[in-house]
Structures are given as structure tokens and as C-alpha cells.
């Protein structure tokens, strides 16, 4: 089946853990936007959701860091974070080992990836799922792009990876959705936490909505770091979804800098022809 859904959203832990500290109008608007994204996702009746995230040293470390990794298990436990800290309960999310195996086999025709038969979710995946599949009843295929420990995959390789994901989804009989999670500009978990470069974010989202490959690949890590922080490296997850959307145009349903959440909170989708 052709890909049925493509979107991106934020995954910052503060969205759950520091909810009470945020501006009421902004936080409620974000939660409404998440819920509308859930409705749009459910309406496409996906058999599985490919969640392209940038994990934070929950599974992968610099002793053997994959640029691209895909989960291949029947279940995924998480989050690794303390329940009281993250305010998301421990849960077992369903996977589908057979589907992952076939998906990875297809992706490998275009991109080199690592596969993982063991994977524990952190906030990068579980926070979006807590909104988008709150009953954790849709199988997930977790995908990780290393956005934390340089050297990082160059953006053209990320784009190619996104194209490989699309080709794999289209080649399988199942209805596959793809959701990228990450931040745009942000300085998470550093003394600069809460700083957000709103102008940079809006320019990025303009490129993302237009799905302008050339403009999206024009970034380089040094200027991203200077303008958008180390959290800006996570644009890779957004770019992978752009590539997977194969030219479709997008809509930003919600964007607002929410400093206590440490990111410009974003909900956006592409209008792909399902």
C-alpha cells in the first residue's frame, strides 16, 4: 500500500513533565493539536506506525553508534525515564517483528541501516505515542537517526534514508504511517534550555511545508548548532519525513515557542495521496 500518513511533532519531555508550569493557552492549544493529529492518523487506519525519532542514549551509545537504526521486535518497553519525572507510565508498546523484517529488507535496498531486536523507548518515541496512540494499540516500527553524538549522517544521506522508507512502505501490503519526532531549534538539557530561535524555526517550517528539498538540504551542522542549538540536529527526523512525503506539501497545524517545554512545539502534516 502507498504510505497513508506523514507528519511530524515535538517530543520534548517537558510537554508532559512540566505541563503545569507552561502558559495555559499555549499548552492547551498544543494538546488540542496533538489530539487532532491523533484523529487524522486514526482516520487513515494504519496497520503500523513508523516513528522516526532521535533517541537520547536509551539504546545506542558511542561504542557502536548507528547513523540509522530500525527496530525489529514484537514489543518495545519504556520509557526508560523515571515515571515521576516524565509523568508517563511504563508501558509495553506492540511491534511486529515480521513486518519490521520485511520493512527493513526493503529499506536496505536503498540505505544501509542497523536493525535492533531489542529497543527501549525514551521520551523521543513514547511522548508522541502517549498522545497519538494513547491506548498503545497500533504496532510501531521504531526508527532512530543519530542526532546526538557527532559525527552525524549528512543531510543528503538522511534524505535518501527517507526516500528508502517511502519505497519500503509503498512496497508492503500493510497500511504504513510515518511520524517524525524531534525539535527544531532548541538547547535541551543544557543551561540554555528554554531558549528557542523562533525566527529560525519559522523559516525552517516554511521550507518544510513547501517540501523544498534544496532549501532543506542547505543547512549544515555548524550553522545549525550556532543558530538552533544541538537540539537543531534533530531536523534530520523532519527531513526524513519530507523525503518520505515525496514532494507532497504540508501544513503546520500548531507552532508556538513554549520555553518551559524547551522547544518550539510543532504539529505538522503532509497532504499525501493515500
Amino acid at each position: 500500500m502507498p504510505l497513508v500518513f506523514a507528519g511530524v511533532c515535538s517530543h520534548a519531555p517537558g510537554i508532559r513533565s512540566r505541563y503545569e508550569q507552561a502558559d495555559q493557552t499555549l499548552r492547551e492549544g498544543l494538546y488540542v493539536a496533538f489530539d487532532e493529529m491523533r484523529e487524522a492518523l486514526e482516520a487513515t487506519r494504519p496497520d503500523a506506525i513508523v516513528v522516526v525519532a532521535a533517541e537520547h542514549f536509551a539504546n545506542f551509545f558511542m561504542n557502536n553508534m548507528p547513523s540509522f537504526a530500525i527496530g525489529m521486535a514484537d514489543f518495545y518497553d519504556g520509557p526508560i525515564e523515571d515515571t515521576d519525572w516524565l509523568k508517563i507510565d511504563k508501558v509495553r508498546t506492540p511491534g511486529n517483528r515480521d513486518l519490521s523484517h520485511r520493512f527493513i529488507t526493503e529499506v536496505m535496498k536503498g540505505s544501509d541501516v542497523s536493525y535492533a531486536e531489542e529497543w527501549r523507548f525514551d521520551h523521543g518515541i513514547i511522548l508522541p505515542l502517549s498522545f497519538l496512540t494513547p491506548r498503545y494499540d497500533i504496532p510501531v516500527i521504531p526508527v532512530n537517526i543519530n542526532c546526538q553524538g557527532p559525527p552525524l549522517a549528512p543531510l543528503p544521506r538522511v534524505w535518501s534514508f527517507g526516500e528508502s522508507i517511502r519505497a519500503a512502505a509503498d512496497a508492503l501490503p500493510e497500511r504504513i504511517a510515518i511520524i517524525g519526532t524531534g525539535g527544531i531549534s532548541h538547547w535541551p538539557a543544557t543551561p540554555d534550555s528554554g531558549k528557542i530561535n523562533e525566527a529560525w524555526d519559522r523559516d525552517f517550517l516554511d521550507r518544510w511545508v513547501r517540501n523544498d528539498r534544496e532549501a532543506l538540504l542547505a543547512y549544515d551542522d555548524l550553522t545549525v548548532y550556532a543558530d538552533a542549538g544541538q537540539g537543531g540536529f534533530e531536523i534530520r527526523t523532519f527531513l526524513a519525513v519530507s523525503a518520505a512525503a515525496a514532494g507532497a506539501k504540508g501544513t503546520v497545524h500548531f507552532y508556538a515557542p513554549i520555553p518551559i517545554f524547551a522547544v518550539g512545539c510543532t504539529i505538522a502534516t503532509y497532504q499525501i495521496a493515500a
Partner: protein, 126 residues
Amino acid sequence: MSLYYVQKFLYELNRDEKAQQAYLADRVGVLDGYDLTDEEIQALVEPDIGLLFHLGVNGQILMHFAAFHHIAWADYLDLMRQGIATHGPVREGVYAMTGYEGVDAHTSALGQHGRTAQPTNTEGSR
């Protein structure tokens, strides 16, 4: 200096409850087998969040260590700021990539000051 092993210890601690129990039982002994300097050992045992940030520990690793020690979010941020003020710029790692000179310098570089935020809903077909 062995930032890699400092981070590796914290990575393993963050995701393993048994490692956390071992750390609480014997904070020094649990560091056996990691190639660490005395300064790094001190920072991990105390714990000294500010020094660990100065040494270059990634915040995505460090924030879990702070949460494990029941350090509140605002205090965690302050401890890192104090670490930079006390010890100087981050020595190594991702934050040293272009030099880390502190919050004020970053704010100034970005031309940001106090501002308010409004949500955006850029309508297309939904």
C-alpha cells in the same frame, strides 16, 4: 581526561536499575573498570552536576543523572550554569564544538531578549 567513559558509565546507569542500586551502595566501587581521572571520579561520586557539564557530558545523559538524584529541573539548570561560571567553558564534546560561553553570550548572539509567544495555526487543508 576520559569523557567517553564518564558518559558510558552514566549511559549504563541511566538505563539499568541494578546499576543504580550498585551505585547507591558503593559509589566509588561501581566505577571500577572505567578509565577515569580523579576529577571525573569526584564529579560522579559527589555528584557535581556543574563539573560534569563543564567536562562535556551530554545533557541528554546528564539530565537523567540529575533526576536520579532528585534534583529539580530548575536546580539542574542552575547547577550547570554554576559549573560554567566556576570552571569555565565546556572542555570537550558536542557543546565545545563551537565554544560554549554561557547563556548570556548565546542570547546576545541570537539577538534574543524577553519576548512573548503566540500559537500559530497555518491553515491549509487539514
